[in-house]
Symmetry: C2
Subunit: 320 residues, 2 copies
C-alpha cells in the first residue's frame, strides 16, 4: 500500500486550485490560492502554499510523491514546457523545471483540459474508460481526448482542440480563433446565447425568450429553463445546438471509438434534457459500431476534475 | 545489429501479400498467394508459403523474428482477435493464435488500414512522423490514425473509421454503412463517380464529362483528366470533393494535431492537383495551430505499405 500523497494543481485565470490526494484518488485536503497575473510568481506561490499547508497539517514533505499540474495553453509534455499562455505572458515557459526547482518535488505538467479529462477518466464519469472524449461547455468549448489511457497531445500540443471543429462549413459565425462555424460558436454558453439572440430576432411567433432578451441579458440556463416549460423557440434553439454538438462528437468518435463521452462545464448542468438530445444526434451521425460502443455522460467531478487529473499524472508518470 | 527478418503479411480479398523485411524496413523478398475465400485455410496457407519461400532462399526458420499481419475488419489487439470480417466468415476469430500455432513464430495482428498507416509512418510519406493521419481513397474511404507512434484502436477496434465521418449532415447520399452524408459517398473513387453523374445530370452547360458519361462508364480519373484540360464541370466536381475532404481532415486533425496527413489509394494518383486543393480547404477549416503543424502528402509505398507496417509491428511489439 502506497501511503504517499499526490499533489494536484490546476492553474486558472483567477485562482490556482490545489489538493493533496491519496494513491486511490481520494482528496485529503484541497484549497485555492490567487493567480499571480504577471505569471512570474506562480511557481513560487505554489511552493509556499504547499509548505504552509504541510505545516498546518503537521506533515513532513517526504509524504509528497510529486506534483501534477495543468495549465492553460498547448503543452510540450516531454520537455515540460508551456508553448504559450497569452494571459500570463508565458512563451516556451519551462513550467516543469520551475516547479521542480521551487518545490524540490518531481513534477509533470499538461494542458488544463487534458488533466480534467484524466480526472474524469480516473474517478469521474469516465469510470475507468481508457478511450474517452471529454468536452467542456463553458465560456468556450474545450476538449481532452484519451486513447488507451494516454492523452492525445499531437505534434505541437494542440491535440484535443475539438472546440474548433467546423460544424457550419459555410456561413458560420466568426470564432475567436479566427475561423468561422466552429462548434464553440454554437455549443458554448456564449454560443448558445448568440444562437438564442439570432433566433429571437427572426422568430415569427412570440416566445418566453423575447421578454428575457428585452429585459436584459439572456443566459444559456434561461434557454434550457424555457425549453423545460415547453417554449417552442427554446426547444428549437436546443435542437440546433445539440444537432451540431452530436455531429461534432460523432465525427471525433469515428476516429477514436471511445467507451465514454463526458460532457462538463457550466452548460452541462442542464443535465438529462441536454444529454438525451445530444445522444439522439450522436447516434444519427456516428458509425454504427462506434455509436454502439459509446455512452454519453455528464461530468461528475466539477471543479475537482483538474486536481484529480493532476494527481493521476503523478501516479502514472512519476510513480510508475 | 539485428540480422533477423520480420515477416509482413497483408490479407486482402483476393490475394495475401507477404514479405520478408529486414530490421531497417528494407524488403528482402516479397510475393503473393491467393486468398482462401472460405477463411479456413488462410493461416495454413501462410505457414506453408513461409516455409516454401525459406527453402527457396536456402534460409532456416530461425532467421525470422515474427509475423505482423493486417486483416480487414475491427481488431482486438490485446487478444489478437478479429472481431468480424464478413467476407471470410470470421467472427471473434483468434487470428494471432492460429498464426502462432501454424508457423511456430510469434505474431501480432492489426487492422489492414492501420498497418498501412504504420508502414507509411515508418518508411513512407509519413517520414517518421509519430502523429499521423492516413486516409485511403479507394472503392471506399479507409483510415488509420496514429498518436505518439501508436495506432488509435478505440474500445471496440473501430478507431480510425474516418471514412464514415459525416460531412453532409442533411440531405447527404446514402452510404454502405447505413448512414448518409459520409465522406466515403463523396471522396472515394465510387463517390467521385456518383458526384460526377449527379453534376452532369443537372449541369447547365456542356462539358467533356457529358460525352464520357453517355459513352459508357465514367471513372474518377476521367474527372481529374478533364479538370486538367480546364473543363469547368470537372473543376466544380473536384472543388466539391476536396472541400469536403479538406473539412473532414481538418476536423480529425483538430483532435489529433498531426505532423503529417498521408493520402493513399487509387484516387491519390491524381497527385498534386488533388493535394493542393485539399490543402487549401484543410487550412481553411483547421485550427490555426493545427494547420501550421500539418503537411499533406501522397502515400509513397503503394501496395507495400501493409507488409512494411506488418514488419513494424514485429519490430515494435515483438522485438522491443
Amino acid at each position: 500500500m502506497n501511503e504517499q500523497w499526490l499533489v494536484g494543481v490546476d492553474l486558472g485565470g483567477t485562482t490556482i486550485k490545489m489538493a493533496f490526494i491519496n494513491y486511490y484518488g481520494e482528496i485529503i485536503e484541497k484549497w485555492e490560492i490567487p493567480t499571480d497575473k504577471s505569471g512570474k510568481e506562480i511557481t513560487t506561490d505554489i511552493a509556499k502554499a504547499i509548505d504552509t499547508k504541510l505545516s498546518e497539517l503537521g506533515v513532513s514533505k517526504d509524504k509528497l510523491a510529486g506534483i501534477g499540474m495543468g495549465a492553460p495553453g498547448p503543452v510540450d509534455l516531454d520537455n515540460g514546457l508551456i508553448y504559450e499562455t497569452v494571459n500570463l505572458g508565458w512563451k516556451d515557459y519551462p513550467l516543469r523545471d520551475h516547479l521542480e526547482l521551487e518545490t524540490g518535488l518531481k513534477a509533470v505538467v499538461d494542458n488544463d483540459a487534458n488533466i480534467a479529462a484524466l480526472g474524469e477518466m480516473w474517478k469521474g464519469a469516465g469510470d475507468g474508460a481508457k478511450d474517452l472524449i471529454c468536452v467542456t461547455l463553458g465560456t468556450g468549448v474545450g476538449g481532452g481526448l484519451i486513447s488507451n489511457g494516454e492523452v492525445i497531445h499531437g505534434v505541437y500540443g494542440a491535440g484535443g482542440e475539438i472546440g474548433h471543429i467546423t460544424v457550419v462549413p459555410e456561413g458560420g459565425a466568426p470564432c475567436n480563433c479566427g475561423k468561422t462555424g466552429c462548434i464553440e460558436t454554437i455549443a458554448s454558453a456564449t454560443g448558445i446565447v448568440r444562437v438564442a439572440k439570432e433566433k429571437v430576432a427572426t422568430a415569427n411567433e412570440e416566445s418566453i425568450l423575447h421578454k428575457i432578451v428585452e429585459s436584459g441579458e439572456i443566459t444559456s440556463k434561461d434557454v434550457f429553463d424555457a425549453a423545460e416549460q415547453g417554449d417552442y423557440l427554446a426547444k428549437e434553439i436546443i435542437d440546433y445546438v445539440t444537432f451540431h454538438l452530436g455531429l461534432m462528437l460523432a465525427n471525433v468518435a469515428n476516429g477514436l471509438n471511445p467507451e465514454k463521452i463526458v460532457i462538463g462545464g457550466g452548460v452541462s448542468k442542464a443535465g438529462e434534457p441536454l444529454i438525451s438530445k445530444v445522444n439522439h444526434y450522436f447516434n444519427k451521425f456516428a458509425f454504427p459500431r462506434v455509436a454502439k460502443a459509446a455512452t454519453i455522460k455528464v461530468a461528475t467531478l466539477g471543479n475537482d476534475a483538474g486536481v484529480i487529473g493532476g494527481a493521476w499524472l503523478v501516479k502514472s508518470k512519476i510513480l510508475n
